[in-house]
Symmetry: C2
Subunit: 518 residues, 2 copies
């Protein structure tokens, strides 16, 4: 038997050479992307000259396009209001198609049952996604899928598609409107979700593109986020999504005093940093705490007469409200987390839809995230090397998504906003269960007890050391405080089997997730 050498990469993870060889990976080394020359790939186009691509039978299209061994994709812009994934998967299962690679932009809870059934049937044998949660995370963590899932950030998925690491044979893309030839956008109709940012990659690079919609509009449909030149079929279905479930659950401002404290402190950190100046840029993400940060930031911008050049990423209504107020000049929008933001996309000239490549592909002639001053990100765990886990729970089970975490980590000031402990579980730990975003990317941790500054950011210490009511600790001190509160958990037990591979955004392997022991 071959000797298993383990290499410690820059984030102190032991990834065996066997694992690297087996899955053909280089080990993560650095957050610096460098200046490689990248030969992009391109789709194979089946020339169409008819004047109507609308078909009534999704089954016919699936039978014509999907064959054993192919890679199929979906987007997750409908989130838990998605009616497309399950309809397509039901037909694929029914037709007995096998050995598919599932390559969606992400997987939401509403898809879980169908994915598990398809895995059990041998219909899905490979998965790459931004994340997974709930029953599917449990299933995979307990060894339910033979081949490890590959988790990629949104920017890394764009990179992988543009490199050919992900070669999509057929993309099924749900849209709230399309004309008879496939010109479509996410802005009009019943099931509006706003930006098609992630799906634009699939539309551009998949060999076959199938639009699914409940709303055929007059030709030619504009604005055409997806263009007729990219689309093979337009399938008319009864309902493409549930409008009430498209918006994120967490679009209300938090009333939790701990979350408010953290949000206020995040704002204090931003405002006291040298980055808070006319023309700064930021990404806040979603969730109640993020919305609260946006509210504090709004006041600070007004008080200091500062406007932002742009807000980036997944967008919420409080951010589009800043645009309407003139406090933010541009909103660069790869997805919308709520109906308010989605509706604004249609009416606001300065809210620009961007695709995932423009948002965050590291192998680009410049992505938006490279220009980001401030990013506020979450964490399930953060360790004393500032490495962040947003993928596996403290029980080792997959229950998260990389999203844009690694990507926005390129910001000049990357702030992790997280409670010191959650219930009886420490957030600040000696070593994260899974490294998703390397500590090199993280500048400040904000908890309800105080902040920790990454020691490599000596410049920030002077800026943030004397904020009233914001004590500065070392990350080790915060970790000890957390440990003091909740004690030291039993070490997790895993088998040797790899159930998931975590790529860094450049396509190197930053960590693996092992099967949990029952």
């Amino acid at each position: 038997m071959r000797r298993a050498i383990t290499l410690e990469n820059r984030v102190q993870r032991k990834v065996s050479e066997d694992t690297l060889n087996k899955y053909n990976y280089r080990s993560f080394q650095t957050t610096e992307i460098g200046h490689p020359d990248i030969q992009r790939v391109a789709p194979k186009v089946h020339v169409t000259t008819g004047d109507n691509k609308v078909v009534e039978s999704l089954r016919d299209v699936v039978k014509k396009t999907v064959h054993d061994g192919m890679t199929i994709s979906f987007h997750h812009h409908f989130r838990n209001g998605d009616f497309v994934f399950n309809q397509v998967m039901e037909i694929i299962l029914d037709e007995g198609i096998k050995d598919l690679t599932l390559a969606p932009s992400s997987l939401t809870g509403v898809m879980n049952d169908a994915v598990i059934e398809a895995i059990k049937a041998g219909t899905i044998t490979h998965i790459t996604s931004s994340g997974m949660r709930g029953s599917l995370g449990e299933f995979v963590s307990h060894g339910g899928l033979k081949n490890p899932v590959i988790f990629r950030s949104h920017g890394n998925r764009a990179r992988a598609i543009e490199h050919g690491d992900i070669k999509i044979d057929v993309a099924f893309l749900g849209v709230p409107n399309a004309d008879r030839l496939g010109n479509a956008n996410g802005m009009k109709g019943d099931a509006v979700f706003g930006s098609l940012g992630y799906a634009l990659m699939d539309a551009q690079y998949a060999d076959k593109v199938v639009l699914v919609t409940d709303n055929i509009v007059d030709y030619p449909n504009t604005p055409a986020s997806i263009k007729q030149t990219q689309v093979d079929y337009v399938v008319k279905v009864k309902q493409v999504g549930d409008p009430d479930k498209i918006g994120s659950d967490a679009t209300r401002f938090t009333k939790d005093p701990k979350e408010l404290k953290i949000a206020k402190t995040v704002n204090d950190v931003i405002v006291n940093s040298n980055y808070f100046k006319e023309g700064f840029s930021f990404q806040t993400g979603s969730g109640g705490a993020a919305l609260a940060v946006t509210r504090y930031l709004r006041k600070a911008m007004i008080d200091n007469q500062i406007t932002a050049s742009f807000a980036l990423g997944g967008i919420t209504k409080p951010t589009t409200d800043l645009l309407k107020e003139g406090l933010v000049k541009k909103v660069m929008d790869v997805q919308d987390f709520d109906k308010g933001a989605a509706d604004a996309m249609q009416s606001e000239e300065n809210q620009q839809e961007i695709d995932a490549s423009w948002y965050a592909d590291p192998d680009n002639k410049g992505a938006m995230v490279d220009q980001l001053d401030v990013a506020i990100l979450s964490a399930l765990e953060i360790d004393t090397n500032f490495n962040v886990n947003v993928m596996s729970g403290s029980d080792g089970v997959i229950r998260g998504a990389i999203g844009g975490h690694q990507d926005a980590g390129t910001a000049k000031l990357t702030i992790i906003s997280a409670p010191l402990v959650r219930g009886r579980i420490a957030t600040v730990v000696p070593q994260v269960t899974t490294v998703v975003t390397p500590g090199d990317s993280i500048d400040v941790l904000v908890t309800e007890y105080g902040i920790a500054i990454n020691p490599k950011r000596k410049d920030l210490i002077g800026q943030l050391n004397n904020i009233p009511g914001v004590p500065v600790y070392s990350i080790e001190e915060l970790q000890k405080m957390a440990e003091h509160k909740v004690g030291t958990p039993e070490p997790l037990e895993f088998t040797d089997r790899t159930v998931a591979l975590i790529e860094y955004r450049d396509g190197t392997l930053i960590d693996t997730i092992k099967e949990v022991k029952d």
Copy 2:
């Protein structure tokens, strides 16, 4: 010596097998594109992560990017107001770079001197373009360039780029605005031209993209017709174009009674055809007669309470006025011929910028031209097989451009609008000097004396036979009428040398142009 077999293709041109073999072409056979599977190509991307691509020295950028033997490109959206081409070519000449292929979207008169100088210096050895006129046409027609020029329509250029037949190493793209990373559009600034339709191909497919602008705007610039992900350098120059020369010369309504007669008859043909109904679509092109057609059409639409679903192609102010009046629902805009149309692009939500591929690439999942009901096109000559020449004069000299002629010829009703004779020169001839658009594409010829209907369009005869004041002739009768007026010209004399190859839009060879005998 090898025997020169000549093959008569579908347009009755004698293209020798030697010529086909020498230049690696298939002979034109049919206007039907069919349903081939096309492997698209993609650029090589040099990864950039800096936050400023603006450089002051165009020379430095040329030296870094352009090397012997490369293919370089430009767009012609500035028309005769272009200040980019000559600046770049002066540096290229000065640096002694040799053996370049010049692959602009088209060549305008203001570029002629520099091209001729560069050919003489051995700097330019190959050219592909939509057309050429004036001194450059004379120069090439008299054998000034060793290798034959390849003329391609706008749709065919898109096809050739997407296939890899044209592989652009460096694209120099002038824009009236850009931010520090290369987000740019044609809509704001001093030298506004509106749609960047042709240039979008270069931005997407060239390995290196150099923007040239006199107007650096705040980051991030939106709408981003060209995106930072596509751009390597942004060169700041003093002036990128002359606003007064960007607009077409022929944007005023004609007062010439002959042109007005033809325009009125074109309108009569449209209105009496079965295509004139609610939701019809049209492309009129530019020039005084086209503008007059639009004026007549406007009245007919109002009188008949008919609105058009879209107007397509190169756009003029009379067309955007129809949009504003609600008579046209969408304007699908690949270029703007005048300032009125360019300005409207910024203000009109329903004026959509489209790239040349979406406009007219035949090897697509459906281009806009495939959906076109009515196209009005011009002709230098049209022959008794309805073949049209828009490229060479009656003296055999190159003095035209294919433009979108072959592309819009796919319309369901393609009308050639042309005077029977021009001065002492017949327009309707027994055989055109150069076949650009095959007779199979042409449905009706409109002259000031009457119309001719392509005999293959028996359905049209019933529709158009009884229009008051519009006599219907056979094309042969019209040809005889022309001959009767101006006599039979001496046959042109050419040498055996091929100076230009005319591709059909599918990339086959439809005709050649020979060197004129002095």
